[in-house]
Every structure is written in structure tokens, then in C-alpha cells.
């Protein structure tokens, strides 16, 4: 494939004004990046962010609802876990392709897949988090006179929060990564510049886009870690 492209030479939209870096097809031409930020990278980035936020948001709400339901009706846990473990194993590239005949080459298709993956991760984490609440804490809460509802919202969920946040971190970076692949079903994301860049053998474009996704994922992960630390000060407090 590489040979095929090289035969036609790199296709670089230079219009005769480009720097020597671009002419030589260097990997890190900052001037090109700067010049084309608004037209190439920014829209891709924003679209990517939108995809991520929607998928994680919806996935989280659904996962929470299902987890609370399964927490009350224990028999649901095994079947649901099995379903999600299966979804989990489907290669994303294939899943995107398979969904296309159903919902077309649209953002919806991508979101269905992304929400599915988010659900798979978060359901397991929330259920585990709830299960790990120490039995004696539940016993004490009940013995002190908290109703079942109060125990769930004032004791169990707050204690499960670290596990939930851990799941949220994994889900978010996973979706960011998967959203790049959604480009194969023509949904706009940072995968776009990557794919186009590779098609045209235009290094700076796809290297920059690639780096951008990496940075995005690390920043998101970092922000979530900080949020987790602020929300659960008790998890790190240890005896002096």
C-alpha cells in the first residue's frame, strides 16, 4: 500500500507556499499545524469531544440505572454481566461496520457502539463498588435507623464512588480511543485527519492528529483523577 502511494508522490495541499518542512514531508511541521489548526484540527477535536461526552454521559446514566436495579434484584447480576462481557469482546471495527446497515453511516451508529462499550465497563465497576461496601458498615447503618433508601444514597453509593470513578476513567479513555476508529464509518473525529493523512501520505497531518488524541486522552484521564481525589478525600486519608 505504501508503495502504491509513493508512486504518485505525497499529495500535499501546498499551493506553492509551503515551507521546506512540508515539502520534505517531515513529521512535525509546526507551521503547517498552526496554519491549519482552525480548518483541520479544531473541528475534528470538537466533534471528537462531542462524541465522547455524549457516549460517556448516556452510558453512565444507563449503567447507573441498571446497576441500581441489579443491586435490588440480585438475580439480574449474572445475566447482565454476561451480556456486557460479550459486548466488551466485540472488536470495535467490526461492531461499527455491523451497525451501519441498521442505523446508517451516522453519528447515531457510532454512539450506539460507544454507549455499548461504556455500559459494559461501568456496569461492572458500579456493581463491584456497591458490593465492596463492608458488611459491618451496612449493619451499623441499618441498626442506627436508616431506611433502605437512605442507606443506598447516604452510605452505599458514596462508598462505591471510588470504584465508579475508576470505571469512569477507563470508559472515558476507551471511548476517546474508539472514537478515532469511528472515522471508518465517516463520522467526524480526530480519526479523520489521521486517516486522510495516511491516505495522502502527509505525515504532519496524521502525526499531529495522532498526538492530539494521545494528549486528549491523557488530559481527560488526569482531570478525572483530580476530580476523583476532590470527591473522595476520605479514600486517601490514612493514619499519620
Amino acid at each position: 500500500m505504501h508503495a502504491m502511494l509513493a508512486a504518485g508522490g505525497p499529495v500535499i495541499p501546498s499551493f506553492g507556499k509551503s515551507s521546506s518542512c512540508v515539502q520534505d514531508n517531515g513529521a512535525f511541521c509546526f507551521d503547517w499545524i498552526r496554519d491549519n489548526w482552525d480548518s483541520t484540527f479544531q473541528p475534528a477535536l470538537i466533534s471528537h469531544l462531542k462524541l465522547t461526552v455524549i457516549a460517556v454521559g448516556i452510558g453512565f446514566v444507563l449503567a447507573l440505572g441498571l446497576a441500581l436495579l441489579a443491586h435490588q434484584r440480585r438475580w439480574l447480576i449474572t445475566p447482565l454481566t454476561l451480556v456486557f462481557a460479550t459486548v466488551f469482546t466485540i472488536p470495535s471495527l467490526a461492531l461499527f461496520q455491523v451497525l451501519v446497515p441498521i442505523s446508517g453511516l451516522t453519528v447515531l451508529t457510532a454512539e450506539i457502539a460507544l454507549v455499548g462499550y461504556t455500559l459494559s465497563i461501568l456496569f461492572a465497576n458500579i456493581i463491584t463498588g456497591l458490593r465492596e461496601v463492608p458488611a459491618e458498615v451496612r449493619d451499623a447503618a441499618r441498626g442506627m435507623g436508616l431506611s433502605d433508601r437512605q442507606i443506598l444514597f447516604r452510605v452505599e453509593l458514596p462508598i462505591a464512588l471510588p470504584a465508579v470513578m475508576a470505571g469512569l476513567r477507563i470508559a472515558t479513555v476507551t471511548v476517546i480511543s474508539l472514537a478515532t476508529i469511528a472515522t471508518v464509518i465517516t463520522v467526524q473525529s480526530l480519526g479523520g485527519p489521521i486517516f486522510e493523512g495516511i491516505q495522502n501520505d502527509f505525515k504532519t497531518k496524521y502525526v499531529a492528529a495522532g498526538l492530539l488524541t494521545v494528549v486528549l486522552a491523557l488530559v481527560a484521564d488526569g482531570l478525572l483523577v483530580i476530580t476523583q481525589r476532590r470527591l473522595t478525600p476520605w479514600a486517601r486519608a490514612r493514619r499519620a
Binding site: 451499623a140 436508616l146 458514596p158 486519608a237
Partner: protein
């Protein structure tokens, strides 16, 4: 030494500070089981007393305790708190009236100490200022510094957590406390300290307490009355520690309290309570002890030193009297009720015999 008690101030919940508790033919049988975990259990705990439920494992003591606050349902019979049946009450509401302390404590790890303590008052709708004052009062009561309120349970030692567990149970000043092996997870040295402190606390606050333990020595130390249960949840004997030690109801009880029950009885009284002989011309190496030393310790000192007498001294080490081996041994022969430990001022003090 009047300690403030904001719990008793205003409306939102004003219980009597201590209420009597009665078990009336209480039975617990789990569905699908032929044996009963608790069998026809009946006894009364007067307000302000500590009743210890003690017995070998499988005797149903914890089950019985947990039936009081409906953590376990009662199969038959009734439990009356302040004359009112617990079965008629809505469980969460009932439990807010009862202090609950368990062995592993169960502090909420995600909340500060202050928030933990404030749990029941918050449920009862107290306002913020009242809660804040009460938290400070309670930290004071269990001898912990006020700044501890902003820490998290993970930062505390086992002993500190234990005290917070007690403080949390006392927050709304409930008329009854249930304690299930509260000091069981603590090392022996700190356990003794906590027991002593708790008894001092009880002397101040005078709550009705049901205390579960498997340790007969702890039962004797802590209880105003002891209910010894045998396997199958059957009451073997219910009486004051002294009565049980001097007149065990049957072979099982006698074995449970131990062959050394005579010595255990001696541990219940101290030198200050008996009539001492005049001190005159004891040899110089005669052992000496203060008035608050127990008769058992006095006996031990005498035997270790090879003497048959012990000189009792006051705080200035001045002799106030002498106790002899016969005198102390004679205590064991006195009818129940003549020599009792002042720290346990129970109904039997006034000469009444133990409850049926």
C-alpha cells in the same frame, strides 16, 4: 460535675434518659430449622442498669440482642421497651431510639468523625448548631479532642474508633443501648482501659444497656445483672454477679463461671468495704495496700509475702487498719447482699433479692 446534655433540651426527640426493657417469652425459630435459636426467654432490665447476655457460642445471645431493635424478627413472644412493644413500631424509627454498637464498629469511612456522630440527630431533624454542640459534648464524654471531628475513620486507631462508635450511639441520648462484643476486637490492655472508662461513663449517664459478651470475666466486671444463656437460647440464670457466683443455679452455670468463682467474688469487693481490725505491731514486711484494692488482690499479696495479714493504708501511707486471712475468707461466707461493690448500686443494694 454537671455535664451539659443538649439532647434533653428541645423538642425534636426527648426520650427518657433511660427506659426499662422486658423480654417476655421471646422465641426465635428460623424457618426450616427444628431447633430454636432463642427459647422462651424472659427477664427484665430495670432502667439505668447494664444487663450482660453471656454464654457459649450458639447460645443465642447476639440473636436475642438483635431482636430488641428488630434487626432479627421475633417469632413469638414480645419485647417491651418502656412498656411499649417493639413489634408495633416502625423499625427504622425504633432503631433511632436505640443506641447500637457492634464489634467491628462500622463507622462510615466516607464521612468525617463529626458527620458519623451526627448521623441519628440528623435523621431526627436537629438543627445544625444543636448537632455541632452535641458532637463536641460527646467527644468530650469519650475523652477525645475536639479537633478529631474533622478527621476520617481511616485515620484513627482501633481504640479511638471504638470510642467514636460509642459516642455515635449516644448521640441522640437514647433510652437504651445495645452493645455486641464492643471491646472484642481490641487488645487486652486497651480493652481493660476501655471497660473502666465505659463504667465511669455509665456512672454519669446511667443508660439501660444490653451488653453481649462471651467472656464471663467481662460479664462480671460490666454487668449489674447477668443473663447466662445455654445452647439453644435457654436462660440458665439471671441474677447479679455476686449472686451467680455464690449460688450458681446448676452444673452448667457453675462450670461456666469457673471453679475459681470464690476468688471472682472476692474481686467484686475491696478493702474499704469491710470492717478492719486495729493495726498494732505488724512485722515490717507485712504487705500494705490502699482501701481501693480488691479483696482478691489483697489475698494475692498476702500469699505472695507469706503473711496472713495485710495493712490497709490511706493516701498518705498511714495505716488505718488490718485485714487478716480469716477476715477475708469470711467474706465469702456472708449472706448475699452484705458486701457489695459500690460501683454497682443496684436494687439489691437495698436488701432486695435478685430479680426472678
Amino acid at each position: 460535675m454537671e455535664k451539659k446534655n443538649t439532647a434533653q433540651e428541645e423538642g425534636a426527640s426527648s426520650y427518657p434518659s433511660a427506659a426499662p426493657l422486658e423480654f417476655r417469652n421471646v422465641v426465635k425459630q428460623y424457618p426450616g430449622s427444628d431447633t430454636r435459636a432463642v427459647d422462651d426467654l424472659s427477664f427484665e432490665v430495670p432502667a439505668g442498669e447494664i444487663c450482660v447476655l453471656v454464654g457459649p457460642s450458639g447460645c443465642g445471645k447476639t440473636t436475642a440482642m438483635r431482636m430488641v431493635n428488630r434487626m432479627i424478627d421475633i417469632t413469638d413472644g414480645d419485647i417491651l421497651l418502656d412498656g411499649k412493644s417493639v413489634v408495633d413500631r416502625n423499625p427504622p424509627e425504633l432503631r433511632r431510639e436505640i443506641g447500637y454498637v457492634i464489634q467491628q464498629i462500622g463507622l462510615f469511612p466516607h464521612q468525617t468523625i463529626a458527620q458519623n456522630i451526627a448521623t441519628v440527630p440528623k435523621l431526627l431533624g436537629w438543627d445544625k448548631d444543636r448537632i455541632g454542640t452535641r458532637v463536641d459534648e460527646l467527644l468530650d464524654l469519650v475523652s477525645l479532642p475536639n479537633d478529631m471531628g474533622s478527621r476520617y475513620p481511616g485515620q484513627l486507631s482501633g481504640g479511638q474508633r471504638q470510642r467514636i462508635g460509642v459516642a455515635r450511639a449516644l448521640a441522640a441520648d437514647p433510652p437504651l443501648m445495645l452493645m455486641d462484643e464492643p471491646f472484642g476486637a481490641i487488645d487486652p490492655i486497651n480493652r481493660e482501659r476501655l471497660q473502666d472508662e465505659f463504667l465511669r461513663l455509665q456512672a454519669e449517664i446511667r443508660k439501660t444497656i444490653v451488653f453481649v459478651t462471651h467472656d464471663i470475666d467481662e460479664a462480671i466486671k460490666m454487668g449489674d445483672r447477668i443473663a447466662i444463656l445455654r445452647e439453644g437460647g435457654i436462660l440458665a440464670q439471671y441474677d447479679t454477679p455476686d449472686a451467680i457466683l455464690s449460688r450458681p443455679a446448676d452444673e452448667f452455670v457453675a462450670q461456666f463461671v469457673g471453679v475459681d468463682r470464690g476468688l471472682k467474688r472476692l474481686a467484686l469487693s475491696h478493702l474499704g468495704e469491710i470492717e478492719l481490725a486495729a493495726s498494732n505491731g505488724q512485722p515490717a514486711d507485712t504487705p500494705r495496700a490502699k482501701r481501693d484494692a480488691s479483696l482478691r488482690d489483697a489475698l494475692s499479696l498476702m500469699m505472695a509475702s507469706g503473711h496472713q495479714q495485710i495493712v490497709v493504708v490511706d493516701d498518705n501511707d498511714e495505716a488505718v487498719g488490718v485485714a487478716s486471712l480469716e477476715l477475708i475468707a469470711g467474706v465469702l461466707k456472708l449472706p448475699n447482699g452484705s458486701v457489695t461493690a459500690p460501683k454497682k448500686k443496684t436494687a439489691s443494694e437495698t436488701g432486695e433479692t435478685a430479680a426472678p
